[in-house]
């Protein structure tokens, strides 16, 4: 504890606070006007709220979102919990290599996955047409709310897996051995001992998935549209063109409503996190854990896991890759006749697409490093700082979590329009980088703080006693000790930034193209060939990041 004022620390809090609060403030302000804020005639009014709240489309979108969020939670939570138990506690075949593989959906762009489903299993998708040749008619329809819910549920299983598995690992093997000695089999142990004991972690991930359901954008945009399904975020996206004139005030109202739903959920997650960490009581004794024998269930469970991976990763990705290497596809087309590399060559014909790829690389590699540097500076500034300012920072970090990427991107667009000195930066990559870094602030801070938490305080105190002033302690002890953590964070942020699509949507313009937002906008124009080629590039970039991360032994979660 230091009593002297810590100006450099306070400065870090103030700068981050501005970056976080300004977009939020401008959204709230805009929602209370009756016209876009740049119009001189704009007055304070609740008319925008009145319009949205009486709009039938909004009501339908709200109801659809609620059903979707609930449904995907109901799908993802039980399956994710079972998956965690299988991988952590049992002798499931291949559990070692499956561990990183099941996390893949987290690092794939939802809009790429959704596009993959369309070209693989849509009305004229590869697999649909092949199935048609066998059974005569299309056996499925992916444009219904039910399939959207199932797909969303399947792709969110890894989030549940992540939290449940780390809680299961903290659980001592002895509690299961006790049940085993008493005569319980693997399934019974899972249902009566292991999973009930990690209930707080499961509950936490349920709230998380429900919350992500309210923010869902890419899946709903691609898979919901053909069937006329609107969710809150796609309703917001469609509002852009609905009235012919910029309807900022209406978009702001929807954004405020989404944020108003998200904040309590974020707060609830935070509270649950506290409870969950208190629940880790029986930290296992150092015994080597002997996995529970599944017996006959072993191969059935393995088959289930493979089926899920095939449906969630293999099916859409194979669609994307196939589509990228054919010139056209439809009924009566033979695959061998249409194979081509033309789509990739075509990418280089459009300067904005080439820029999109180089920008994505730049923002992921350099921007990712700068973002990690920012997170690290904030993390170091509040590290072991017992001050009300550190509490303030804690809450500030939560704010962007309540703002989905689409809304954050919109808010930053407005910030750059509203704050005149910033306007020249709007059409530069800086605007995209800032929005990305703020959207992923909470994620990045968690990575940094989990690295910092692993440093024993004595290591830093020892340097102070020997005579090192605060800055030297940071330079000579703290930073060297989190070096690997910083490298890992950089790789994870790289993947997240490559994957990101919604944040760039409203910031998209000449000079600010990134692959994710290009896919969203090109999808609207129906340029399937190019979308497929871009998606392949996107997936390959993520895969490269993933390969390096696994090679270096980076943990894929904070």
């Amino acid at each position: 504890m230091r009593h002297a004022p810590q100006w450099h620390r306070i400065l870090a809090v103030l700068i981050t606070g501005t970056a976080v609060m300004l977009p939020l403030a401008i959204i709230v302000y805009q929602s209370l006007l009756d016209a876009p804020f740049f119009q001189p005639s704009a007055k304070l009014s609740l008319s925008a709220f009145r319009f949205v709240l009486t709009d039938g489309d909004f009501h339908r979108a709200f109801a659809t979102t609620a059903i979707l969020a609930t449904g995907m939670t109901a799908v993802a939570v039980p399956l994710g919990a079972i998956l965690a138990f299988l991988l952590v506690r049992t002798d499931l075949p291949g559990r070692n290599w499956l561990e990183p593989v099941v996390l893949i959906p987290i690092f794939l762009s939802p809009v790429v996955i959704a596009f993959g489903y369309v070209v693989a299993a849509g009305p004229v998708g590869f697999f649909t047409l092949w199935a048609k040749q066998v059974v005569g008619s299309a056996p499925w329809n992916i444009y219904t709310l039910l399939s959207l819910t199932l797909i969303a549920g399947f792709t969110h299983i890894p989030y549940v897996f992540l939290y449940t598995s780390s809680a299961l690992r903290a659980l001592g093997a002895d509690v299961e051995e006790a049940a085993s000695i008493a005569g319980a089999g693997a399934a019974r142990i899972a249902l009566t001992v292991s999973l009930p004991m990690v209930r707080p972690a499961i509950l936490y991930s349920a709230v998380l998935v429900f919350f992500l359901g309210f923010e869902i954008f890419g899946l709903a945009l691609v898979l919901g549209d053909p069937g006329g399904l609107l969710v809150l975020s796609t309703y917001l996206y469609k509002l852009t063109n609905r009235l012919g004139v910029p309807s900022y005030q209406l978009m702001a109202v929807v954004a405020v409503i989404i944020i108003a739903i998200a904040f309590p959920l974020v707060y609830l997650q935070r509270r649950l996190m506290g409870i969950a960490s208190r629940f880790v009581t029986v930290a296992g004794k150092g015994f080597a854990q002997r996995p529970l024998r599944l017996g006959r269930l072993r191969w059935i469970a393995f088959g289930g896991v493979l089926f899920w991976l095939a449906a969630t990763v293999l099916l859409p990705l194979s669609g994307v890759f196939l589509r990228a290497f054919v010139s056209a596809w439809g009924e009566g087309v033979r695959l061998t006749e249409v194979l081509t590399l033309e789509n990739f060559r075509e990418l280089s014909d459009y300067p904005n697409l080439v820029r999109g790829i180089t920008n994505t690389l730049g923002i992921a590699v350099i921007g990712g490093a700068l973002a990690v540097a920012w997170y690290a500076i904030v993390g170091l500034a509040t590290h072991r700082w017992q001050s009300p300012w550190a509490k303030v920072m804690d809450y500030l970090v939560m704010v962007p979590r309540g703002m989905p990427g689409l809304i954050a991107g919109l808010a930053f667009l407005w910030v750059f329009l509203f704050v005149k000195p910033l306007s020249p930066l709007r059409s530069t990559l800086f605007s995209v980088w800032l929005a990305y870094s703020v959207v992923w602030l909470a994620y990045g801070m968690r990575l940094i703080s989990s690295a910092l938490l692993q440093i024993q305080p004595e290591l830093e105190e020892a340097a102070a006693i020997i005579g090192a002033p605060g800055a030297r302690v940071t330079r000579d002890v703290t930073v060297p000790l989190i070096r690997f953590g910083l490298l890992g964070s950089w790789l994870l942020v790289f993947m997240i930034f490559v994957r990101e699509y919604s944040t760039g949507v409203y910031l998209l313009g000449p000079g600010t193209e990134v692959i994710g937002s290009l896919i969203v906008s090109l999808w609207g124009t129906g340029a399937i060939d190019i979308v497929a080629a871009l998606s392949v590039v996107n997936v390959l970039l993520v895969a490269a990041g993933l390969a390096v991360a696994l090679r270096l032994g980076v943990r894929l979660h904070g």
Binding site: H3, E458, A462, V477
Partner: protein
């Protein structure tokens, strides 16, 4: 090495009064042990002296230098106090070699590289770690790590050496050797040191003077011998050594002596509190002062042997003497015979 004066230190942590007006002095070249159970405030006191935390009130002076004074608002941070501290966990930096760990303090003090090298190697020699300078901490045993920690703390000749439970991370066998070694080192280096410990044997062995802390106060201070042979409170008496305790009421007081009695027994001992006739009291005696007799003796009670434990170098006998449990140590196996336990009145303290 300079004189340390700690006066009236008060500290609250999260609503708890951890230290209540603690004062003590450390003379040049002296080793003081802060002894106490967990929660007594001893580690907090060490951290306040080190400057890792600041008191709510009080004053700390080292030699000519005022380190902390709540009245004039002086707060010298840890890095400007020029102290050495050996942490309980050793806190060696895993990313630096032994040499770099030890050299850090000299580099901060802008010592010339050639001189740094010479000094570090000489200190490593002194603590018996020749040839290990290029190792990393994880390549060393616990005992070696402890020596590195000490070398790192003394290499720049700090004005005062602080030791936080320096031996608690070593296993029992190693701890005995390290105790001897540490005492030798401190004597050879002629440094003043404050050593925090919860282990009374460690305190007795290492320190010139022991401060016994309890609930944020100094319960008693004195030389190891005074502390062990002449405790002034029941807490001090029971915290040190292994003891027998008997509870009863004061039956008679004669000068400095008192008679304590129970249902079917009475004993004379030294009255060490302001208990009066008729009040309940506790008699404490070190186990090694309790004697076994085979016939009635002065200040002795007839006792029934309940059970015995064989502990290798000795036997532990457990008796029932007039409803009270009494232990004694004996060199030989028990025999079938009547027992009387004698409590020499000069060694029996009544509180």
């Amino acid at each position: 090495m300079d004189k340390l004066i700690v006066s009236n230190i008060q500290k609250r942590l999260g609503g708890n009064e951890v230290l209540k007006a603690v004062s003590f002095e450390l003379r040049r070249g002296e080793v003081v042990a802060l002894l106490g159970p967990s929660g007594s405030g001893k580690t907090t006191l060490l951290r306040l002296i080190a400057g890792l935390d600041y008191p709510d009130a009080g004053r700390i002076v080292l030699g000519e230098k005022l380190l902390f004074d709540s009245e004039s608002g002086v707060e010298v941070p840890a890095e400007r106090r020029n102290l050495g501290l050996v942490f309980q966990s050793y806190a060696l930096w895993p990313h630096r070699t032994v040499f770099d760990n030890v050299a850090y303090g000299l580099r901060l003090r802008r010592t010339a590289p050639s001189q740094t090298r010479e000094r570090v190697l000489s200190v490593l020699g002194q603590v018996g770690l020749e040839g290990l300078a290029e190792r990393h901490p994880h390549q060393l045993s616990g005992g070696q790590q402890q020596r590195v920690a000490l070398a790192r703390a003394i290499v720049y000749n700090p004005q005062l050496l602080l030791l936080d439970e320096p031996l608690s991370n070593l296993d029992a066998k190693l701890r005995e050797e390290a105790r001897v070694w540490l005492r030798e080192m401190i004597e050879k280096l002629q440094i003043s040191a404050v050593c925090v410990t919860h282990d009374q044997i460690e305190a007795l062995a290492i320190a010139d003077r022991v401060l016994l802390l309890e609930k944020g106060r100094i319960e008693q201070e004195g030389t190891p011998q005074e502390m062990y042979e002449n405790p002034r409170t029941i807490f001090a008496a029971e915290f040190m050594g292994s003891n027998n305790r008997l509870t009863g009421t004061i039956a008679e007081i004669r000068g400095a002596m008192a008679k304590i009695s129970g249902d079917s027994w009475e004993l004379w001992g030294q009255l060490r509190s302001d208990r009066r006739d008729g009040e309940t009291a506790t008699a404490v005696i070190r186990i090694e002062k309790t004697r076994v007799r085979d016939q009635p003796a002065e200040n002795a009670l007839a006792a029934k042997l309940e059970t015995t434990l064989y502990l290798g170098e000795r036997w532990d006998y457990l008796f029932d003497a007039g409803g009270q449990r009494v232990r004694i140590w004996a060199p030989t196996a028990p025999a079938q015979r009547p027992y009387w336990l004698q409590f020499p009145s000069e060694s029996l303290w009544i509180f």
